[in-house]
């Protein structure tokens, strides 16, 4: 009887922990020889394991370029296996678009490959990487097992990059973070916008300089009007064939900053700003309320300072 009970308990425990830590990554083709892995429009948790981000890869004539490596070692490893199911060509370069952890913590799985990023992104990963990883262990739990920071070992800069028989246009921007790299694959017309563009998910702002971000969005939108543009891959949310994610991100940032500026001028305290409801247009926007509250913490003090200093 006792043994049976033990067996039952083991079975129960097994079913509760049915988690196999499989992100179930399936490469989705978005253009010829261009694939993406689309993450959920959620915040990090122990169910999604941090798979809230878009990553992708381009299969060139002599190899593969990977764009962002995901939120964990496990993601990186599974991504690499999923890539191998599409093509047996070697991965020749991994690009990290910026220094946020969901975009580079899979680097470990590509430790044998050059990993490139803008100079400030390399610095940012070296400086903040461990703290970011620690935070993701807290939020995503065991999915993070074994994950360690692998700092990019190659500095990329703006301009054309010939790699894997492909011509990439590297566009060095900033605003979402201190360094945001957008990658345009000239052959397929695919623009990997990184987290400068969010689609159907509220943007995150922990390192945002909004004025710079808006300027970067203008530049990206201009690119989408070029005749060879075809596909836009945002950092989060669905892929599009137009500039909608760019406009959506711009609208959110404009609303957010106007609202915070007005609140500061009206004399609101941070707690009152946090308590404000989102306008109806953002009802139901995934993580809208949560990102608004986070953004108040990040951005309100500067608006407050402006409002108080102009009162002197």
């Amino acid at each position: 009887m006792k043994r049976l009970l033990c067996l039952l308990l083991v079975l129960l425990a097994g079913s509760l922990a049915a988690d196999d830590f499989d992100y179930r990554l399936v490469a989705q083709p978005v253009a010829r020889d261009v694939y993406v892995f689309i993450g959920k429009t959620e915040d990090f948790d122990t169910i999604n394991g941090g798979n809230i981000v878009n990553t992708g890869f381009i299969v060139g004539t002599d190899g593969i370029v990977v764009i962002d490596s995901g939120p964990s070692l496990r993601y990186g490893q599974q991504m690499r296996r999923a890539i191998a199911r599409v093509s047996d060509k070697p991965v020749l370069l991994v690009i990290n678009t910026h220094h946020h952890p969901d975009h580079f913590l899979g680097n470990q799985a590509f430790a044998d490959v050059p990993i490139g990023a803008l100079a400030d992104t390399r610095q940012g990963i070296a400086r903040d990487g461990d703290a970011f990883a620690e935070n993701l262990f807290r939020m995503s739990g065991n999915w993070m097992k074994g994950t360690e920071v692998q700092v990019p070992n190659r500095t990329l800069s703006a301009g054309k990059l010939a790699v894997a028989g492909r011509s990439l246009r590297l566009i060095a921007l900033d605003g979402h973070t201190g360094a945001d790299l957008a990658v345009f694959d000239e052959q397929s017309g695919t623009l990997f916008a990184g987290d400068l563009a969010f689609n159907g998910r509220a943007p995150t702002t922990p390192h945002a300089q909004v004025a710079h971000w808006l300027a970067a969005l203008d530049q990206l939108e201009k690119l989408t009007r070029e005749s060879d543009f075809s596909v836009l891959v945002p950092g989060h949310g669905a892929v599009t064939h137009d500039a909608a994610p760019i406009r959506q991100t711009r609208d959110w940032l404009n609303w957010l900053t106007a609202s915070l500026r007005e609140a500061a001028r009206a004399g609101l305290d941070m707690n009152e700003v946090l308590a404000r409801p989102l306008p109806p247009v953002y009802d139901g926007l995934p993580v809208g309320a949560a990102e608004y509250r986070r953004s108040v913490g990040h951005l309100f003090p500067a608006f407050e300072q402006d409002a108080l200093e102009s009162g002197r």
């Binding site: 004399g267 707690n271 913490g297 407050e304 409002a307 108080l308 009162g311």
Partner: protein
């Protein structure tokens, strides 16, 4: 101790709505904090204590930035207030600030550094000697007290130390409100090599020299502290003056 406390509870209940009276508690911490007994000994020793819903402490349940957790204390529903002490049970330095609302309503907004998830409480002493306690839990990932101030990393702040920028609102929904920001690193002394360096006292007076409020601030108050007060409309300019623990003085006039 039990007897006078109950008397106080009954006397208070008579002045309150039934719902509020039901929420009054003279024992058992509603926030169920393991540190409550210590807090009571440290701050409220020897006096009757009531958990009182009229002491409103507003703070986010989850703090995005543990260095800048906004807290608003509103005890304006209580008469005869002598002193308000604000503390966070699980902070390495628990005492955040004290304020003495003399001519101003018992309302103060500010921001604190939290090292870990903790209750943030306000204990309000009324003239009958009773402490009325309100509070709320704030969850945070921590680091607020042992992370260096931004100022510690940059020499720029020295030029602006104790610079006050402030504003009064005489119109609109926030008429009668005063907000001010003081440039100060508010170093806790818990970061190796950086001694405690913080504002200790701020006095708010009107043009006739009447003191509206005195605030004593301690290490956990956030860097470049921001305060929100309600002083009412038509009171003219306001003077904010004070000093830090290194004896640096400041004085600023906030026009209406």
């Amino acid at each position: 101790m039990k007897y006078p406390l109950t008397i106080a509870a009954i006397a208070l209940a008579a002045l309150m709505s039934p719902a509020e009276a039901a929420a009054l508690k003279d024992g058992g911490d509603p926030l169920a904090s393991a540190r409550w007994t210590d807090m009571e000994k440290t701050f409220l020793a020897g006096a009757p204590v009531l958990f009182d819903p009229r002491v409103k402490v507003v703070a986010p349940s989850t703090a995005e930035n543990p260095m800048q957790v906004p807290v608003t204390v509103d005890a304006t529903a209580l008469p005869g207030i002598v002193e308000v002490v604000v503390f966070a049970d699980f902070n390495p330095i628990v005492q955040v600030l004290r304020f003495f609302p003399e001519e101003a309503p018992a309302y103060l907004g500010f921001r604190v550094k939290l090292q870990q998830s903790s209750p943030v409480r306000a204990a309000v002493k009324t003239s009958d000697g009773v402490w009325h306690v309100g509070g709320t839990w704030v969850n945070t990932v921590g680091g607020g007290c042992t992370a260096p101030s931004a100022a510690a990393a940059s020499p720029e702040w020295q030029k602006r130390l104790n610079e006050v920028s402030g504003r009064q609102w005489s119109q609109g929904p926030n008429a009668g409100r005063v907000r001010l920001r003081i440039v100060h690193p508010m170093d806790t002394g818990l970061v190796a090599g950086t001694p405690a360096f913080h504002i200790e006292e701020i006095n708010f007076t009107d043009t006739a020299g009447r003191r509206l409020m005195r605030v004593q601030t301690y290490e956990p108050v956030s860097e470049n502290p921001v305060f929100t007060l309600q002083r009412g409309v038509g009171g003219g300019a306001l003077e904010a003056s004070g000093r830090d623990n290194n004896g640096n003085l400041f004085k600023a006039r906030i026009e209406q």
